[in-house]
Each structure stands twice: as C-alpha cells, then as structure tokens.
Symmetry: C2
Subunit: 494 residues, 2 copies
C-alpha cells in the first residue's frame, strides 16, 4: 500500500512537536534533579515557550491540513493508529482557546505557592479561593472540549483517554467494596508482622542497595541514571530514561520500593520501539498502562517472597543487619490503616486514599461538593474507609500537589494501574513460573514478556485493546482483588 | 519617549527565540555532563528541532515586519542597541538558504566521527575529504551572507561581529612578532622553575580544591554547579550558569586553572542584568569579551604570585604536600615550548598555537592552502614558531575538534580574549590594588569592577565601544605584550 504524502507530512510535523516536548522533559528532569535553585525564573520561561511552540505545531495548519486529507485515506493499521492519536491530540488542543490555556497556567502558577503556604500553616482557607478558580477553569476547559459530556469524564480522558469513566468508576467501586472489609479485618486481627528495620540507614548505603537491585533487575545504565529528588519519578524515552528515588533514614524500604517502582516505569519507556521515536507508535500508552508497569515490578516482584528470598542478603550485607527473607517480606507488606498520607500508604490502603480523592474531585467538578466543604468531606471519608481522622488539613486534604496544578482526574489512574498489573501478573503466570524466575534472578524472561505484550506496541492499540491483546480478556478488577485477598489473608491469618 | 508597539512585538518574539536557544543550552550541558551515552539519537533530534524552531522564529515574518517598521523609529540608545543586535542576527540567518544550513549540519555530523577515527589512527587522509567539503560549504555560506566581503572575515564575524578582521590580524601579528623571540629566549635560558607536583592526585582531592577555590572566589552556588566533562566548559545565563572541569591525576594545576578560567566565564553570565533576560541587553557580548573574562581570572588572578600567597596552603592541606607559594607560582607559569597540544599549552606558547591555526584556516578558506597540504604547513609553522615538530598528525593538525564542526574563524578569539584581559587588568590597577585584594581574598571588589565595566552592559555596546567604555582606550595588544614580557623576563631571568 502506498503511503500517502499527507501521512509523511503529518508524521514529520508530529515528530517536531514531539521533539519539543521531549526536550521539555529533559528541562523538567534537570529542574528537579540538577538545577541550582536560583535557575527557576529562566527555567519557567524556557518551559513556557516550549509548551507554546508545541501547542502551535499541534494545532497548526500543517497538521490540520494533513489530517483533513487523511480523513478517508487507505492506511495500514499502524498508520491508522498514528493518525488516530495525532487527530485526538490536535482536536483537544485546538478546542481550548489560547486565553483559557493561559488562564489555567497562571492560575496554577498562583495556586502552587498558596498551596505550599496553606499546607505549612495548616490553613485550608488560604488555598480555597485558588482551588475554586481552578475547579471553575477546568469546568470551562472540559466544556470547550465536549459540551455534551460529563466534565469530569473529559478531564479524566486527559490522563486515560480510552477507558470509559463508567468502567473506571465500576472498578473503583469494586475495590472499595472488597478492600474496606479486608482492611477492617486486618485492623481487627492480632497477627504481628515483623518490623526488622530500626535505627538509621545512611543515604550512601541505601543508594548502594538501590544500585545493586537495579543491576540485578537488568536496568540498562547505558540508557539510564539513578538520582535523587524530593519525589521519586521517571522521565525519558527509548534512548534515555532516568529514574529518581529519595532516602528516608529510618525506612530503607521506602527507597527500595520506590526504586523498583520507577524501574518498572523506566522499563516501559526503554522497551518502546526505537525506530518509532517521536511518533505515537514510539510513545507509551497512557497513565493506567504506565502505572501497571511500575506496580507490576513493585508489587508482584518487589513485594514477593521470592524477591526477598533472593535479596534479603543484599540488604543484610549493605546494612550489616541480621535480616531474614521472611522478615523483610513481612515488613514490605505491612498494612498500616492508621497512616494518613497517600504516598506513604501500603499496597492495600493506598486504594482507599485514591477512591476518596476520586469521589471528592468528581463531586467538586460536578458542583455537588463546594470547595469550602472539602476538609469535612475528606475527614468523613477517611473515617468511613480507614477508621481514622486527620487532625490537621495538612495531613488531610492539603497533602497532595495535584489539585494545585489544576489536575483533576489523574488520581484514579494510580489504582487502575495496580488493577491492570495484577491482571498482567495473572496472565504471565500462565506462561512463566514467575516466582522461580525472580528467585533465580532471571528477570530477562519477565522483561521480555512485558516487552512483547505491552512495550513494543507503543500507542498502536487503545488501552482496552491493549489489555485484550496482552491478557486475552477485558480489563477487570477480579485478579487484583483475588490476589489482594489471598495474599493478605495469608499474611494476617484471616 | 513612547516605546513603539513594533519594538515590544520584536522583543517578545526575540525572547521566544532566545528561550528556545537557552533550552538548547541546557540540553547540550546535559549531553556533556549527565546524559547516559545511549541517549544520543534522541538528543540529536531534539537539538536539531530546537535549532530549526529558533531559525524559523528569527527569520520569520513577525521579526521581519517589526524590524522594517522600526527602520526609522525614534528609539532610546538601549532600544536601538537591541534592534541592532536582532537585525544583525535576522539578516545573517535569513541570508543563508535552508538547504545550505542543512548541508552544513550534515557535513559536520559526518565529519565528526571521521575526525575522531583519523585522530585515533593518525590518518589525515581519512579526514581530508570531510575537511574539503566543510571548507567549500563555509565559503558558500560566507558568500550568501556577503558576496563582496573576504569570506574568512565573514566567518570570523560569526564569533566576533564587531571587531574588524584587519584589526584582529594586526593584533595577532604583533603577538607573533614579540612572543616568538620571547619564547626563544626562554628556551635558551637556563632558569630552572620549580616543579613541585609529582605523584598522583586523586580526583576527590582535586575536586575539593576546586570547590574551595570557587567558594573563596565567591561563586554563587545558588546559581551554579561544578561538574566534570571531557573538556571543561561553561554554560548558562544570569539565573543559572554551570561550570565543568576535569582531573588529570598527575597534574593538579590543570583542573585548578581550568576551574578558575571557567569561573571567569560564569561570572560574566551571572553578572548580566536579570530584568533583560532573553534580550540582547541581557546576553553576553561575543567571544573575545567572554574569553577576556575567563583569561582575566585565570591569568591575572589565578597565575599571580598574590593568589598563591593566599592559596598554596589550600593545596598543601588538600594534597598533604609541602608546597611553598613561590613554588606553586613558578609551576603555574612554566613555559613549555616543546608542548605540541594547544589545550595543554602555557600562557605564552598558547598564542603560537592560535596564530598557526588562524593562518592556516584563513589560507584554507581563501584557497591559498589546499587541504592535502595542511599537515606539512602545520608542521612547518610549529617548527617556525616553537622550534618543535609533531611526529604524528594526531598531535598536529588533527588535535582540535573545531574544524570538524565546520568552525573556521573561532580560534583567533582565544588570543584576542587574553589581549583584552590584560588591557582590563591594566585599567583595573589604576583603580584597585589588585594584588592586595587577591592576597586578602577580597574578590568582591574585582567582581564588582568587572560587573560595572563589562557584565551589566550585555550587548548594549559593540565590542570596540565596550572596550572604550571599560578602559578609556581602543583595543590594543600593548598591555598584554608588556605584561607578558615583564612577567616572563622576571621569571626566567632574561
């Protein structure tokens, strides 16, 4: 089949946009990892210019004309997938007037320091007017993109474009319905899991453990780095994907688990096809799929007994501690229902934190919840789901940065990613003896499986199609819930 | 005076271009300092897109129309200076056809690995055809910009736009005429300067010395960093300027001198007016002036006896060595005429290396020298100026990267910078007791003097105007030659 000229034009122009946005990614990594503090004013201007340049290319006539020409063109499935993704991005970007984009950008620039101050002072009222503005602007934004759709569904689609919000909502409800009683049972049990870590663990020793684990997992240092930042993250593409971690002196498992988590994100980027760099087929699917990769490695490998059979000794050597595999396994799977902070939550209660945020932000956008009522609603839900009440808003509704960025609809993808990770794990175990591979350090077989099922496809498939391709089934919460119940019932003798 | 709208439009558009190009600067820094090796393919594409975006903005209608409208506008001197700089950049960029720009970029991409290979194999013939192509393309490039001018003068103006080539040439001739005999006299003398460094000096200890010196010089770590790279360089703007160094185990003065040199470059960037960021008034003047700042700190501070009175102890402590101020001073000022490598040359013979390259590249561009004759011409000039002949082309005409980048006309600015540094030093000493300040570590007074005379002006003045502003005289080689002769005659008992 001859490739239409318009397709080549479209792809070239898209690559330009994509190069600009991956350049922005490097600047953001630098800002969080290496930039001296004083660099902020210059960096903000560089990033905002690049973002405007990207927007101009994506919404420009070259892209618009090529897309129009390709409306009924005869394309291969791969070409059609590229066009689908570019068209979607073009249409969404074109739908939002430039002055609304600027208002949003200004409002979140103003909101960020206000949120920081409010959190420091435990003063929600200081942040409330900013949150009010951001909620209103996001409603307008959703309305510009699709005036007939539920605004929250439109926002959610910024992060997860192909999974219906109703499907996502059903999954989250299932999680709530089965995890709330599981967590309650754990709270009521008198099982006593090991807590082998006490004292202080130096950043140097923690870093050396993280590097050893990454070596063993097969992280490609020729295309990656490990650094530290205030919040761990992963950034990059198939040629260069870097991860960060952070070190809590009293909790070495925090950095270890975050390293393994970010390794999963990195592995996805590094497994994207190189020849498709800068095009949708060389880019990762959206946040649910990305989070499934990090959660797979974190939870199904890093929190497994097999992993600690292999690596308790690595920790014992580095920390000069007496650590058994079983003790570390138990420590890595402790459930702490009285923890108030999402980013410190365990594998189970994490989802209660997400569901709470999802329910609140959905109601904020629909107007069913007023901004001023957020603290009370937050605390009530904490009580309902986790039987604990924050004493301050700093430990409650002010703890996350997302809303101050004007990001509503992002949180659910964290839980959906865990759900998908378990579905992939279930399917993988039909082909591979995962525990034996982990115990033997044969991670290549696992990497290759994920590479074939997920990474190599880029954005060839929509999320639901990709889940079907990879697992032979539709997206479902069943495997995650079965996994969670059986694992934690065993751990806590329920 | 009311600011014409066209001026605001022009400046906003120029800031966009400038933000894109400073973003490129961050990407290049990252490539040389932090990027994992495998990242090259993505980085090349990002940089080439940003460079094209920059070119499109500078040559675009918005800039062209605003410049046309401002042709006879009533502007303040500062506004007129901005317009002068933007017009110059616009005209030069617009003069060169896009396909010639691309040919040049491709030819240097091809030339770089060929040069690396040729240098490794000591095989000039492998590089020669690439050099041939680059010379031809640069002739075409010069011809597009100004068909009536000497092509080498046009190329030189890419690096030093406002100093006439004839003036530069006269200065370099004076240097040759007075330094060749000075170096010969040093070669003939039997003075025996101290060589107090032997053994191996660990990178950690060398780095700690560099950091201590930067602390003492007053480097603003809130707006800077020190890292390592294969060749030391400085990159950044008034909010964030970073320097690099490298460590030779057997020669600790190499990293120390390069740190002080790069500190001078950094100080210039950091002293540019913040409110003018992204405009010509917030950008540094060209390479001669930039090099004058690094050479001032390197040669007139870092190689002074006063500096080593202050800092011999810093080295003695770090290296646990017995080092007197006089010994380190002598070691920092050794002249090595038999050294073949420019980047390892001392303060005097350095200029012989530059003059040689200048004469060869000028003749290459004019056609008076054929590419195949470069090795012979190189060796003859080495013999003539330094009384030494390279045994291989790797240590001769293949040692520098510049020509493989297609950069002809760059080398002279290195010597011109040293010359200007000495002129500034002479003027400064009319106001300040520089040696006493250095001995007491009162570097702030020196920084402020340079800030007022040079840094704060950005591109407000052309290079000759700036030299006049700062020193009250036209650019001249006299002070440099007097300084060099009196310093080295004393050191070598001539």
């Amino acid at each position: 089949m001859a490739t239409p000229d318009a397709y080549e034009t479209l792809l070239d122009e898209y690559k330009r946009a994509s190069n600009v946005s991956s350049a922005s990614g490097v600047l953001s990594w630098d800002q969080q990892v290496t930039m001296p503090e004083g660099g902020t004013p210059a960096r903000s201007k560089q990033l905002s210019t690049l973002s405007a340049v990207h927007h101009d290319i994506i919404t420009g006539d070259t892209v618009a004309d090529a897309l129009a020409e390709l409306e009924d063109a005869d394309l291969t499935p791969e070409q059609a997938a590229s066009v689908r993704e570019i068209r979607r991005e073009h249409e969404r970007a074109s739908a939002v007037p430039r002055d609304l984009v600027e208002q949003l950008s200004e409002a979140s620039s103003d909101a960020l320091p206000a949120w920081e101050q409010a959190r420091e002072d435990d003063d929600f009222d200081h942040f409330a007017p900013h949150l009010e503005t951001l909620v209103e602007l996001r409603r307008e934004y959703a309305n510009e993109i699709d005036p007939d759709a539920d605004p929250y569904a439109v926002l959610f689609a910024d992060y997860e474009p192909y999974l219906d919000l109703s499907k996502a909502e059903a999954v989250l409800e299932e999680l709530r319905d089965r995890l709330v009683p599981l967590v309650a049972a754990i709270q009521a049990s008198d099982a006593d899991l090991a807590t082998p870590f006490d004292g202080e663990y130096s950043p140097e020793k923690q870093e050396s453990v993280s590097r050893d684990l990454l070596d063993d997992l097969g992280y490609d240092w020729d295309r990656g780095r490990l650094d530290t930042s205030s919040h761990p993250f992963t950034s990059g593409n198939q040629f260069d994907t870097r991860i960060t971690t952070r070190f809590q002196p009293e909790d070495p498992l925090d950095s270890i688990m975050s390293t393994v988590h970010e390794y999963g994100h990195a592995q996805y980027n590094l497994g994207l096809p190189r020849e498709a760099f800068g095009t949708p087929l060389g880019d990762s699917r959206d946040l649910t799929v990305h989070e499934s990769q990090s959660r797979f490695w974190e939870n199904h490998v890093g929190r497994s007994e097999a992993f600690w059979d292999r690596h308790a000794g690595t920790l014992a050597d580095a920390f000069d501690d007496d650590l058994s595999a079983r003790d570390v396994y138990e420590a890595a799977n402790q459930v702490y229902p009285d923890n108030l902070i999402r980013v410190e939550a365990d594998e189970l209660t994490y989802h209660m934190h997400i569901i709470l945020r999802f329910e609140l932000e959905r109601d904020l956008i629909s107007g069913d919840l007023a901004v001023e009522d957020v603290p009370e609603a937050w605390n009530e839900k904490m009580e309902e789901y986790l039987d604990v009440t924050p004493e301050t808003d700093s430990e409650g509704c002010l703890q996350d940065i997302h809303w101050s960025h004007g990001n509503f609809g992002y949180f659910p993808t964290y839980s959906l990613g865990s759900v998908l990770a378990a579905q992939l794990d279930h399917t993988m175990r039909e082909d591979l003896d995962v525990d034996a591979l982990v115990r033997n350090g044969d991670f290549a077989a696992i990497r290759e499986w994920l590479g074939e099922r997920i990474h190599q496809h880029g954005q060839r498939y929509t999320t639901p199609e990709l889940v079907e391709e990879a697992t032979g089934e539709a997206f479902t919460a069943d495997y995650f819930l079965d996994y969670a119940e059986s694992k934690y019932e065993a751990l806590y003798d329920l």
